[in-house]
């Protein structure tokens, strides 16, 4: 293989690599201010009654991606988790809405128990 050929192959490989690897999003620097913008990644929870209540309250402190990420849990386990969010983490959720949230989670993301 001659030198030109080798060079062309290297260039082509580098080009392919650049095409595959998108440039990393940087931080913005304006004077002494450094900032980033978080991408929006909407999450669609499974259909079901009271899904809006889950989105509204759970989303105060964390994305609802937390829900599908969890192992399937029984109603007792979901109830313990929601109670922990309220009693331990201080999530401002009225009892009536907490009950709706537990109902939705144990139906849409439950074990059937």
């Amino acid at each position: 293989m001659n030198k030109t050929m080798t060079m062309l192959i290297i260039l082509a490989m580098a080009g392919a690599l650049l095409a595959v690897l998108p440039v990393s999003l940087g931080a913005e620097q304006k004077g002494s201010v450094r900032s980033i913008e978080l991408p929006n990644m909407p999450v669609d929870l499974a259909n079901g009654p009271d899904r809006d209540t889950v989105n509204r309250f759970c989303g105060i402190c964390h994305g609802v991606e937390y829900v599908p990420m969890q192992p399937r849990m029984s109603k007792a386990q979901w109830s313990a988790t929601v109670t922990k969010m309220i009693k331990v983490f201080g999530a401002p959720v009225p009892q009536e809405d907490a009950d709706k949230i537990i109902g939705y989670l144990s139906t849409a993301y439950g074990t059937g128990q």
Binding site: L38, G63, Q70
Partner: protein, 398 residues
Amino acid sequence: MSARRFTRREFLKAAGTVTAMTAVNGLPIDAFAATYERKLVRFPEKTDLILLTSRPPQLETPLSYFKELVTPNEALFVRWHITPIPTTVDLGEWRLTVGGNTNKELLLSLDDLRKFEKVSYTAVIQCAGNGRSFFEPRVPGGQWKNGAMGNVTWTGARLKDILNAAGIKAGSVDVSFDGLDPCRVPTVPDFVKSLPMDKALEEDILVAYEMNGGPLTMLNGFPARLIVPGWYATYWVKSLSDISVNTKAFEGFWMNPAYRIPDNECGCIPGGTKPARTTPIHRMSTRSLIIAPGEGQKLTANKPLTITGVAFSGGYGIKDVIVSTDGGRSWAKADLGKDLGKYSWIQFTLPWRPAKLGTYTLMAKATNTIGDSQPFEGLWNPAGYLWNKVEPLAVVVN
């Protein structure tokens, strides 16, 4: 161990890892997952990482990056607790406040921090919940696999020097650390951690303003974070804003009841039970991980290859790593790579030429310099911490 067959979950895990290597941005990388897909996403100053949650960002490092001795900044995992997180810092305004039971209060700019003696070392940073998804019975929480860790060269000022500049007064018992993460719900506890006084004064604890020679990425705690080498990253408070010397033990939410383990030698209890007493988690367990070949990878009979991986312990350094290619029946001592000090991970290698066709179960087991090693069965605790089981890894030779 030798007769033990792979569970279905381990098979699914293997399948997921192989898929991960060929995944592209935004596509599912764990097609077998029953309830959710692990996909690759791109956040500012980061490469494609595995998404756990986007609010707050929790991003896991794909295992292929652990082929490198030092983890690149853009590949280091991300873990925040509560949304929102700091996304803008004005260094003209930012000051690290150091006060409490001190002779004077300091308000340190980043330039002021740089005036302290500059200290640099490489240390493993690992989330307390790394490996939580492998717990059986399963436990709720961030379902990390093995990618909530990395090995980074940190540079900064000694916490001890900063505290001494403020002047610690008599009667001080601990030091607490708060970051910029704003807490917008008044009932939700602000993320604050503490270290006992003697721990805080240890030589190697840093307020770091550089990772791998560059500024901290915003998602990893710009402009400065605490480095507590050997201890789990829950103490490594990001985007530091306040350091307070306390005369009464700090007992905020994130020290109690959060981030605690059963108060016994293994930090473990029988699966599904509740601990009688708990204690704050701190030092990292000894662990190792085979990085190549990857789980489920197809190999060719009689073709030589090198089994490689990383091993580390909670600040004691690694004495040896043994590797098995037959599910634990026989073991060989691996060669250890470049030693970057007791807080760094060390790479291990073992040349291997699989002669026969079939499935092989690879395992690695590390022992640190004080004799701590890894269990063959997962140790269980309710929060899913301290995971360090010897992981069987299946490869197929054909």
